[in-house]
Symmetry: D2
Subunit: 333 residues, 4 copies
């Protein structure tokens, strides 16, 4: 059986290719892809052909925020039915190394992650994944929302790392989709989101629509907080955000900085004994992220502003790039 | 009754002054000072008249690593006898604020700390402290060792923050007295101190004498570690140290950086989900620090290389400054 | 100035006595009491004259869930105004011992707690407390709700101990007021309260009115959970509740068992590596408990079913005892 | 190729059987067994034919504390050489379930554990294990010591759960081999082992030989401690041990109680907010346990008191049962 996939070539052109539909091996599942979100990393590969040491050296399928319907199962898979709607966890670790055995499989050095060279992503009609990385979602959750369990997981993981809880004053820097999911998750955990910041007024307006206070960091001081969720990757945001923290607070760097090193206010970190960390994807987040949607605590459909077909991946990427205040652009294969 | 104190004037000259011996109030203890260690901060005040926002604006008594003998007790003090040898915890918090009530009294905004303007330190014959900050030490511990419970506490606190434990691979940057106590405490906790680094060969030699492996960071790569205890405050050490860490490792900034911000490898922090924090003094460390000495796990007397009298504080400070490989210079009032 | 207080005599009779209004000392505040909740412990002292080793050996003022209005302040109190509505934290620790310095002041051996012999409680017109234990509440919070910050704190503390968070499956045994506040706090932290159990159908109905699922433990199996908040003190609930837990789960004993020891399923604790602990009051909970009410996440007024005057304390205690399904009876001095 | 294995039949008789030497599959390793410790569970199966729900319903090979030499490797195993001395981790989890993915693979419901029906153990000449559960040991470690990494792991795990660290006062109940390894590990972590208790004077004498203080719990009160490591499974030890704990202390039930429930002093657990948990085997402990031996911090050879051949498994089990003060009896196939 043949399927169509959207390929990013090494010359950074996009085209549709016909490929054989893969067969699920033992313990694996074949999923018919229904919805795939466009992420900043997809745009970055499309524009630059690389992120850090990951280089597009052969044609690559982009897309890693994906959902679909189970189409076939391999041997030894008996606990999921064909036709089940699923959210796909795009990173498959080795399951054997020290990191995997310690419960932090996101740090597995051998993880294979969708749309990270040379591993293909989900801008295609079908993908194969191990059963354990295919998460059924309850009825009533849209394919878009199921796909967006992936970015939601980033927020779940960050809030978990920072132990965001009842009454925690949370400051979020960056009003993009990751800032949005961080704010939504923090609120669902009972936190007090004291402000979400962005230098772009249109992006601030989007976050305000979700019911959050925003701050223009060029105009106003940032309010004191117990947790900083830094989603912009911008050096001034890192600096200002850390300085706004209370004693014994936690700062989590989620947005990827454009440079390998950044000026960090170590005086504040020492004087207030602040904890600073970063997130690299997530681990064990899908169940609670799905529950967040299923219980209505988080409405991911509200973040979607445009849809494109598999033939229109280039338009989808261009749209997302040109409209930074549009939270999410989806591709529907 | 009169006593003699060593005063640092605002013109940075040192002189002996006669002062009234203070009377212990309710809940307080008068201690006859026996031994006081010279710390880098004492030298810094002597040379520059300030550290960050703490400025010598009136004559100041330096010295905060101190021990002595209980000489008198105030009202409501019934659980310590006159003549008891004590280590003095030099920072007295308010006991009422949010930080104090949360068990992190080192972050109390109203803490009064020896030799931090305008609070006088211990280069004097007598000092008064609340009973709770005067810690009896068992027989057989020297006055020098009792005084050095203070810097030892810095190591106890740092190792506790980083959860240094059995089999933890610990990398220490900086072979000064704080690097030494960190190494000693880490070893006592069952850790594997993989290396202590310093660009100064004499200082490395001192640490080697204590039984630790050292590395010249200009010549050799740093070994991989689970914990970095950064004791130098030097930007290259922070950078190299963090890069040497394993996934999910912890870095603790203990040495004070000369600048308020430092280039930090945030890419490594994110990609490996490293936790970075700093220490500001310590809390609740004196009992276990004293036990470390009492049980012979740590020998602080071996760190002492010179003694001076109260009249010789200037010589003591100058000695310490000129001989960076001399771990500890003590003043004996 | 005179005030009226309700006194429990050693013969367990209640009467009104005239007493001098106390003067606030340095750092203290005089509060005119406005609302006081009746707690099971008040009823127990009234009926039995003792709880464990705390014995009514001299006339005692009961009541420890209280709110009021600041009426006067002592020296050195400058940050609260006369007329401010406050919730009163009824346990004042020494602030100096090991427990206090470690941030767990609820375990201070010298704590003085309202209505715990020989310390008087709040069934009176006025009480004096240190400023730090008098918590201002925002406008719009009723005196009843402000008084009930105390039992709410019990739920805040238990949920914090168990790290109840997003997606945590929480099982609560006991549908009394403490079960109710635990359920409300767990829900506000994003947890999935899978069931609240009680053998009394009327009490289950009360909890259902708050929007929770209930289970009759005599009829149905308890659902699997990640956290057990045991609020009944009943041995069968402890046993069943622990057995319902998932691997690595946490059980918190909040309700006081009538006996000093209880049969505990240690096989389950070992085989599933369950963590079991108990709570003794709370520490540092008032700010977030007040915020829970202020933000409308928890509606404590809905728990109140009857009001009595200071002259009717006996009726209040009797009412509470006779109507176990009535969540809260309040006394308004 | 044939090998000889020692079989426990369902009638609880022991005999030698010839079997085919198994072939290592992909990712697996064939190990020639060199030394196997006799554990209480082996004796229990030999005497009673069952432990809890694990029943000897078909002939079973006992023995799970084992070491050996790599004899062959399967496909995809390239990082271990034939001839390497290894300690064998006897429980192989599924690597895919929620528990495995969370880093607590000891709680995997599908774990296959040596000598736990119907999984065969190591009283045989050869065994096959996945490469990841075969841990190379440095030169200079005896086969006996390498085998005893298994019980040592129990102590490593318990101390880790209880966060035994510098200055922690540790009380251990039970002077058997598990009590001994707990004491050795606690000491290596810098703890103060305040006492190891046993009602049997011979067993106390063995622990004293290792340099620990002991207490006869029938004669003396137990000293106050911050951590209880309960290794006896005896109800009085659980009760006394928990009562001896300080506020906020931790109790770990390691020894298996003969009954499913035990009277536990819940009043103490609540009043002092003690944390109680149990251990079920261990996870991720082998590397640090091996390092403990390699660095000389723990001498396991000192625990061995007798050796038997594969033909003498019955004598080995009988010896161990009759001499409870003999720490370890080894079988050398």
């Amino acid at each position: 059986m043949k399927q169509r996939v959207s390929l990013l070539d090494t010359d950074l052109s996009l085209s549709i290719e016909e490929r054989e539909v893969p067969q699920p091996g033992p313990g694996e599942v074949l999923v018919q892809v229904k919805s795939v979100g466009v992420c900043g990393s997809d745009i970055h590969y499309f524009e630059h052909g690389r992120i850090a040491d990951f280089i597009v050296e052969q044609p690559l399928v982009l897309g890693h925020e994906s959902s679909g319907v189970v189409s076939a199962v391999g041997d030894n898979v008996s606990d999921i039915e064909i036709g089940t709607t699923v959210a796909m966890e795009p990173g498959v670790p080795c399951g054997r190394c020290k990191e995997c055995r310690s419960g932090r499989y996101n740090l597995c050095p051998d993880v294979e992650f969708f749309a990270t060279p040379p591993i293909d992503g989900a801008f295609s009609e079908y993908v194969v994944l191990p059963r354990d990385f295919v998460h059924p979602v309850p009825a009533g959750i849209s394919f878009d929302a199921a796909a967006l369990v992936e970015p939601l997981s980033v927020g779940v993981w960050a809030c978990q790392k920072a132990n965001v809880s009842l009454g925690t004053r949370v400051l979020i820097t960056g009003c993009g989709p990751i800032g949005a999911v961080c704010a939504l998750v923090a609120r669902a955990r009972g936190a007090d989101v004291v402000a979400v910041t962005d230098i772009n007024a249109d992006r601030r307006a989007q976050i305000e629509n979700l019911g959050f206070r925003t701050v223009d960091p060029g105009q106003q001081e940032l309010p004191e907080a117990d947790v900083l969720l830094e989603c912009s990757g911008a050096a001034p945001a890192i600096d200002q955000g850390i300085r706004a923290l209370a004693p014994a607070a936690t700062a989590v760097l989620i947005g990827m900085a454009p440079t390998d090193t950044v000026q960090v206010p170590v005086g504040a970190i020492q004087g207030k004994e602040i904890w600073l960390t970063g997130t690299f994807r997530y681990a064990n987040t899908y169940p609670s992220a799905i529950e967040l949607i299923a219980t209505g605590k988080v409405d991911l459909d509200a973040l979607v502003s445009a849809h494109y077909s598999l033939d229109e991946v280039e338009q989808a990427l261009t749209h997302a790039k040109r409209h930074p205040a549009d939270m999410k652009v989806m591709v529907r294969p």
